[in-house]
Amino acid sequence: MNIHIRNGRLIDPKNNIDARQDVYIVDRRIAAIGAPPPGFVAGQVIDAGGLIVMPGLMDLAARLREPGYEYRATLESEMTAAVAGGITSLACPPDTDPPLDEPGLVEMLKRRARSLNQARVFPVGALTYGLKGLELTEMNELTEAGCKAFSQADAPLTDTRVLLRAMQYASTFGYRVWLRPQDSFLAKDGVAHDGEVATRLGLPSIPVIAETIALATALQLARETGAILHICRISSAAAVDMIRSAKREGLKVSCDISMNHVHLTEMDIGYFDANCRLAPPLRSLGDKAALRAGLLDGTIDAICSNHSPVDDDAKQLPFAEAEAGATGLELLLPLVLKWAEQERVPLLDALAHVTINPALLLGQKMGHLSVGAHADICVFDANASWKVAPAALRSQGKNTPFNGYEMQGRVRYTLLDGQVVFQQ
């Protein structure tokens, strides 16, 4: 069906467009921007007057909890949440149960996701078998099955030689390696940033050096092996500095942060709020400021939701026993908008962090609305304000540190491959 999205403000970071432009969709793809293509007859007209039209969001880290943790979330619930948040593509970390270390599992996940026809799922394969950090997975087979990158998720890889081999092997074939830097010895038993709050509350802590030491190792190995390295979810000012210098030096490295770290600090833990039990931990005010500066100067490429639904029973525990993670798919866009408003970042620049930038990091020709591209589109009302209420979230994970926050920005339509998959 041909769709005409009219009267909207089109923001397409890749094509540097921020203007009142109509969008014409023919045969599931963008057929024209501005003026209709010859002979265009709309089967459906979406009036986007007062709304913003942008490429569907791309989230670099969304745990859908399948297979293995269906009591926390299912593909159905989380894909519904994704499109309600305007997200049309998401990368899934391999820490499912079993982990994504076999082509069969990856194919099953892709097939399940495709049958739901909501958002595109890009599995990130396990770098080592069972995420145990000992033996390499069959990266070629996994790539054929649909993996776009390889990662240890949050599982430790303590043997540096295995990491060297993994990066050498991946670089042989040009595969992407995604690492969240954390030294497992220094982070052992830690649940909060090693700073004032953990000291006051008596919480076992994770020092910044747990991140920077692992990051230094990863950067050195990238220099040595030429691997395409992506650093996931940095949390500290020191890590921003290291990546900034590495990029300046010309190293092929990119990085992302979670939306939680754009807005929150250790202070938000307050009186042991388990919703703020996150991995990596929320750090100091100075770290948050440095992360925001890193977003502004291009050191940090993307913002992800780090969506990790956790069931209530796993959160209603003393802080250190509570499981790390928070729901995020439905909050990614409003939190990016909030950051853009606070820092006076033009939307054209801000939205690049959730569209074209993550698409490039996944190696996908997506995240933009060029003529010929898949019509994955998010139409939202930037002025609609709402209050985060866990019960109203579509995700099965109801735990969020943003509970009760006022948000600006509500998705009105989400289109996947030229079809409306969500509207409200």
């Binding site: 000291t199 919480l203 209603q316």
Partner: protein, 318 residues
Amino acid sequence: MNNPQLNKNGELQHLLSTEGLPVDILRAILDRATTFVDVSDGFEIRNEPLLKGKSVFNVFFENSTRTRTTFEIAAKRLSADVVNLNIGSSSTSKGETLLDTVDNLCAMHADMFVVRHSQSGASHIIARHVAPEIHVINAGDGRHAHPTQALLDMFTIRHYKKEFHNLRVAIVGDVLHSRVARSQIHALTTLGVPEVRVVAPKTLLPTMVENLGVRVFHDMSEGLKDVDVVLMLRLQNERMQGAALPSSQEYFKYYGLTEEKLAHARHDAIVMHPGPMNRGIEIESSVADGKHSVILPQVTFGIAVRMAVMCMLAGAKV
């Protein structure tokens, strides 16, 4: 953020930590405690049937004979009904969650919970969860807080030193893992002690501890110089396995309280310890039993202070 310990009228609803406790309430607890102990005559504890008909549940997820016993005695002196539950890790290993356990105990009509747990923040969760007529006393949570211990320490200091505003106090030992130390620091600074010191090797001090309002010393002789009060902390044996310390012998040599080191303190300094003591590891027997030691009076005062806390929570008038 609301202070979870106070109700809307600013009165004590739960006792979870000495942090954020208004100085008036702190003083009121100490004053109330004096009504329960006859300090002129061998520290006799009075019986007062102020909590008759109330049920106090001692809920210990982590074992502690001493603290539980002093709470039990305090409650009985007030004529409360006392139920002791040593839950340890047994019920959680059977799959029951912390809050399920609490719900069950609420259904047994508890008026007050005295909670000890190995995890920081456990009593906060329970306090948030229970109905408003139920009161929670934190009897030690992880490394976070042990407010009644700190309050009895304050009572002891006030008894022997009369005032707080002219004191130098040193806390010696494993501050990093100590809930007692954290609660002492907040109580001392709230009561206006001008100089609180911590004395320990770097491996036993938490990051940015100075932000709690203390001066940091690594040398014990310097740290004890001219202090009025020495608060010793217990050293757990696990610290050797965690590579925080090489040996208990070396620890004793540098941080154990000996008469020689105590000589750097003021001549009328008092020495305190929350118990149980490791003689020959953090304290020398001759000091523990010596003329500066007020370790046994601490225990007696602990009963009076716990009686005072229970009465104030229950809103019982004299």
